[in-house]
């Protein structure tokens, strides 16, 4: 097991090189000259633009730019933004709040999704099951910006139950509403996955056997049905953590959160390769660690799955 974990962690090295190269190349391939955008509609003095390009190595060939970036990373220098700020500072601001938000959203979708999905699966075809289906449809078809706006307006502006935006005040209370909104779409996946797996396992013979052996229903449901139903759900949740961290652009915009999604989005728009690549690299690590954790959970949930 330890050997397996060690090997998985070692695999991060090629993944790191591959991901940084690929993403750096993609930023490089973005259309347009990012320096010209600094001048706005007015444009920029060509000589000044030339100097800025030189300062940020943008006048060099792609592979040189990439290697210079890698060289910086070795000394924990992640580069600077066009506004002269160190990317490390930018990351240090964005990641803590984003991590907190993503974990809250994950807990929300996991707890509510598994609980409601379990009940729906146990009572397949009944009213509750239909309600759960309806909720899934709503969160799939109604875009995040609408859900976010409606919640913000109702709870934040009309009833003043929760602060409408987060800004500099990062706390459980301020992040509560954004977390609900952020987790909404994923909730549909967790609901459907749990419900279907539960319904499937419910008809499995081992459940009938367990019931026949005289085990109480709650014990059958929690130990036998649920445990065997969780593999697809935790697979989804493990991969979702990274998505929630990197893809919360809309939610962060609505609730004014200075997080990774928005920072990444702006950096892409401005063609700031060091910022994009650095943020994404951290996200890759999040994906790898979360997926490793999920793989280890497989073995715990299903003893037939073993790693050597």
């Amino acid at each position: 097991m330890a050997w397996y974990i060690g090997r998985r962690l070692l695999q991060m090295v090629p993944v790191f090189l591959g991901a940084t190269l690929l993403i750096y190349a993609m930023v490089f391939a973005l259309p347009g000259d990012p320096v010209l955008a600094l001048g706005g509609d007015r444009g920029l003095n060509p000589a000044v633009a030339e100097q800025i390009r030189a300062e940020f190595n943008l006048d060099k060939p792609f592979i040189v730019q990439y290697l210079l970036y890698l060289q910086g990373i070795l000394t924990f220098d992640f580069g600077t933004t066009f506004s002269g700020r160190s990317v490390r500072d930018v990351m240090a601001e964005a990641f803590p709040v984003t991590f907190q938000l993503a974990v809250m959203a994950l807990v929300f979708e996991a707890v509510l999704g598994v609980a409601a999905g379990l009940v729906a699966g146990l009572r397949k075809g009944r009213l509750f099951d239909a309600t759960v289906l309806l909720v899934s449809l709503v969160v799939i078809a109604v875009p995040t910006f609408v859900i976010g706006f409606v919640l913000q307006f109702a709870l934040g502006v009309q009833w003043r139950l929760l602060p409408p935006t987060v800004g500099g005040d990062v706390s459980f209370r301020t992040l509560l509403m954004p977390a609900l909104v952020l987790g909404a779409v994923s909730l549909a996946y967790v609901l459907r996955l749990t419900r279907t797996s539960v319904a499937e396992n419910l008809s499995a013979d081992f459940v009938r056997t367990a019931t026949a052996k005289g085990l109480s229903r709650p014990r059958v449901v929690t130990v036998h049905v649920l445990r065997n139903s969780l593999i697809p759900v935790i697979t989804f949740l493990g991969a979702d953590l990274g998505t929630l961290m990197g893809g919360a652009i809309v939610t962060e915009g609505i609730f004014n959160i200075n997080g990774v999604g928005g920072t990444l989005y702006r950096a892409i728009q401005q063609g700031q390769a060091p910022t994009v690549v650095s943020l994404t690299t951290v996200l890759v690590v999040v994906y790898i660690v979360a997926n490793l954790f999920v793989d280890l959970l497989y073995a715990a949930l299903d003893p037939r799955i073993r790693y050597a």
Binding site: G18, S136, V142, R192, D205, F206, G247, T280, D302, I305
Partner: protein, 318 residues
């Protein structure tokens, strides 16, 4: 050990069920031929008897007919927009009223089906094929296959959607269409399905009936295709049907960023994105494209449920 128990039973089911139900001679016959491919024949026979399947099939057929022949449903031009009609209420010949730009909402909803359904369905198929293949191989063969494929999956997971979208759409600046949008969504969407498939395959591959199949001399690829995949299908189907809806919405995001379908192609996604502006003043503009999207997703989710039930021998017996 509930798990071992379960797999044993599954195994028995598969090979001895026919004996239990001797009167059904046909089943016996099929089993004797020994080809597990009959799973699909069984599934189809079962499917035909489910009302859920027929409801879903009818809905899907309706959506497909609307997408293929919008002219049958409206004589209005979805691209004729007159600002004087902005947000006007429904009137004769315009049952849903007008949107912000003064376009007929009913006509736009009808004509939007083609691009949206095409994006949703094609992207889902592509994602299921690519993600399913990668996940199945990684999960079933393990070892180096798993290490390499899973780490590639991790890299693709981390590529920001917006970045990939701008770069890919840039390559097709002058001829963007449904296929290019499908390409973007597939690039971004397959890793999730790969993970789900891998997990499902891993939890099935150690089941006793798989061991039995191997012992009976089935090749590894045959075992994977005929025995493992049908039993791992449930989470794949569920993920795919939910993803279908999110892909149609993803097209909205692309349109909103100016890297989606060109303006002359009407789609639900673009109309949903545009409704953002009317959110405070007239939220009802959002209702029709979002409703059409919900109905489409519902029909595919129901179809997925029916197919999954039909594929599951345990559920079938009841």
């Amino acid at each position: 050990m509930p798990d071992a128990n379960s797999s044993t039973r599954q195994h028995q089911e598969h090979f001895f069920a026919g004996v239990d139900q001797a009167p059904l001679g046909a089943v016996d016959l099929v089993d004797e031929s020994g080809a597990p491919a009959n799973l699909w024949t069984d599934a189809w026979r079962d499917l035909r008897r489910r009302p859920l399947f027929w409801v879903a099939a009818t809905l899907i057929l309706l959506v497909v007919v609307v997408a293929a022949f919008p002219r049958l449903f409206t004589s209005q031009d979805p691209r004729f927009c007159e600002l004087g009609n902005s947000l006007a209420s429904p009137s004769a010949g315009h049952p849903f009223g007008y949107d912000f730009q003064g376009c007929d909402i009913y006509a736009r909803t009808i004509y939007g089906a083609r691009a949206s359904v095409a994006v949703g369905v094609l992207a889902t198929i592509a994602v299921v094929l690519i993600g399913g293949l990668v996940g199945a191989v990684a999960g079933f063969f393990g070892g180096w296959f798993d290490a390499v494929l899973s780490r590639i999956t991790d890299i693709f997971f981390a590529i920001p959607f917006v970045l990939a979208a701008i770069v890919i759409m840039q390559m097709f600046r002058e001829n963007r269409n449904v296929i290019t949008v499908v390409l973007v969504i597939t690039t971004f969407g397959w890793p999730q399905l790969a993970r789900i498939t891998r997990g499902a395959v891993m939890s099935v591959k150690n089941a006793d009936f798989i061991t039995a199949a191997k012992a009976l001399g089935a090749s590894r690829v045959t075992t994977l295709a005929r025995h493992v995949m049908p039993n791992a299908a449930a989470p794949i189907i569920v993920t795919a049907t939910v993803a279908l809806g999110t892909f149609i919405v993803a097209e909205a995001t692309l349109s909103f960023l100016g890297i989606g379908l060109p303006p002359e192609i009407t789609s639900w996604g673009a109309d949903i994105a545009k409704a953002q502006r009317s959110l405070r003043s007239q939220p009802s503009v959002l209702f029709y494209p979002a409703g059409a999207l919900a109905l489409t997703v519902l029909s595919f989710i129901m179809m997925g449920d029916a197919v999954r039930d039909a594929l599951d021998p345990k559920a079938r017996k009841r």
